[in-house]
Symmetry: C2
């Protein structure tokens, strides 16, 4: 594993050396390390780039690390990772991605993740994205996440784009079975002329299924963001989507949430708010001794925490 | 004016005989009566079907009636009405539309309305739509409304589709100048296999402009509705959009509100909720002696009031 990968891993996966857990490190389209455990098997795919992660039914409290790094320009990484989570398993998946550009050409990672959660399976999915390096080439991360949740399954996705990613297109779909639940917490920060688009389609197919989608975003300088979400209620279900965005400078944010109820017992709610930081919040922090700039940073930090 | 027009006018314009005000009655693509007043002039267009309504600057407290009726099948009415509201005027425009189908073919009204509000002008625009008659031909009303509000202008649109309209496609756009304000209150009821689509694009172009959009809808039986709204903030402005929908039986409602802030001082908020009537509301009314059906009707009536 090269030095840049090591640095990126610290940021995106809280990497403190080889963990006592299953892991697979992807580095510039190759594999820089892998371990399976008794309950979690990681295998290379034979038909295309990527891995299959199989978690045995009933596995509890284990973690899987699958970070991916692009460490120089002129890399266009494409990977297909499939997660099979056995019935009743309860695991945490840490899936950060860092792209480092040092030259004129793009450094790009496209990760296509599919999740299959069997009955009663629970997954906490943590994902941090960052771009680094001084090259003029753009740092691009385009993640696709498709999840199928069987009866009583639960999935929580916490995704964070910290900074330095010039362009991102995030696509997430999920289909929820009976009493399945999904929680998504997305945090996005863009600055400079960065662009970010995030697109969710969550289908509440099973009776008693529920989704809770919270997006918080900050668009600084001349950056722009587009947030789209679709909650589709096909059964007696509940869906809630919430998008809060702070704009600064010449930042642009669009929010297009969509609710569709196909069933009389579907209850769907959406809220969205876009605006700048409230003046009184800044004033309050300034009376405590902070400069205006520091006050803004403090508020943004709290908002995205 | 024929009997059906008379009946339709009572419903859509609270018609109690020729009013003491400016009016134009459109009946089956023709004109069934018109009056201009000293301050409000109504003229036929010379290049296409429709009228120009010119309200003198400073006109206050006057009303204009411009109902349109289609009284039989196989009519496809298309009309262009332009409203020029002089500076400082304050008028009420009553613009109902009724379509009556008695045969196999469609009865259709397409009204394309443009509003030009000069500085400080105020308009209250009331519009009721209804379909009647026992014919198999569909009753269709497709209104297009485009409004330009100059500095300090104010426009309130109250639109109601009461029932019997098989298909409607409503398109409303508005561009608001400095300190201009727009309030839209839309009420839509669909039943059977009716479809309704309502599409708003409100551009908050001027500093201090504001828009407040409230949509309430009920989709019964197998009817379906699509609500789209776009609030675009291009200056220091405030926009609020709210969509509440009740679904019953196999009704389907989609809500797609969009917020876009192009200016750091734009504050945009959206809320949407789709669901059925709360069970406890029905139970409460039933304890007061109403049947379940009556209780539902009472709640719907209150919701759309």
């Amino acid at each position: 594993m090269n030095k840049i990968t090591e640095e990126l891993l610290k940021i995106v996966s809280d990497w403190k050396g080889i963990p006592d857990a299953a892991y697979n490190i992807r580095e510039d389209t190759g594999c820089a390390g892998r371990r399976s455990t008794e309950n979690i098997r990681i295998d290379s795919k034979t038909d295309k780039p990527g891995i299959d992660i199989r978690v045995k039914p009933g596995t509890r409290g284990e973690m899987v690390y699958i970070p991916a790094c692009v460490t120089h320009s002129a890399v266009d990484d494409l990977v297909y990772n499939d997660f099979y989570i056995g019935a009743g398993a309860d695991v945490t998946i840490v899936a950060g991605c860092g792209v480092h550009s040092d030259g004129e050409e793009e450094a790009k990672h496209n990760g296509i993740h599919r999740f299959f959660l069997e009955k009663g399976a629970r997954v906490l999915y943590l994902e941090k994205h960052i771009g680094t390096g001084g090259g003029a080439g753009a740092r691009v991360i385009n993640p696709v996440t498709d999840a199928e949740l069987a009866e009583d399954a639960y999935m929580e996705m916490n995704t964070t784009q910290i900074g330095g990613v010039d362009s991102t297109l995030r696509k997430t779909t999920a289909v929820l079975g009976k009493n399945a639940r999904m929680v998504v917490k997305e945090k996005l920060l863009t600055e400079g002329v960065q662009t970010a688009e995030s697109d969710f389609v969550i289908t509440l197919a099973g009776e008693g299924s529920g989704a809770h989608l919270i997006s918080r975003s900050v668009a600084k300088q001349r950056s722009s963001q587009l947030f789209r979400s679709r909650l589709i209620g096909e059964a007696a279900c509940s869906g809630h989507s919430e998008c809060d965005a702070i704009i600064m400078d010449d930042g642009v944010v669009s929010a297009i949430p969509e609710l569709t109820a196909h069933n009389v017992d579907a209850a769907l709610i959406h809220e969205a708010a876009i605006g700048k930081i409230a003046g009184e919040q800044i004033t309050k922090l300034m009376t405590l001794g902070l400069t205006e700039k520091q006050a803004e940073e403090k508020i943004i930090e709290g908002f995205l925490k």
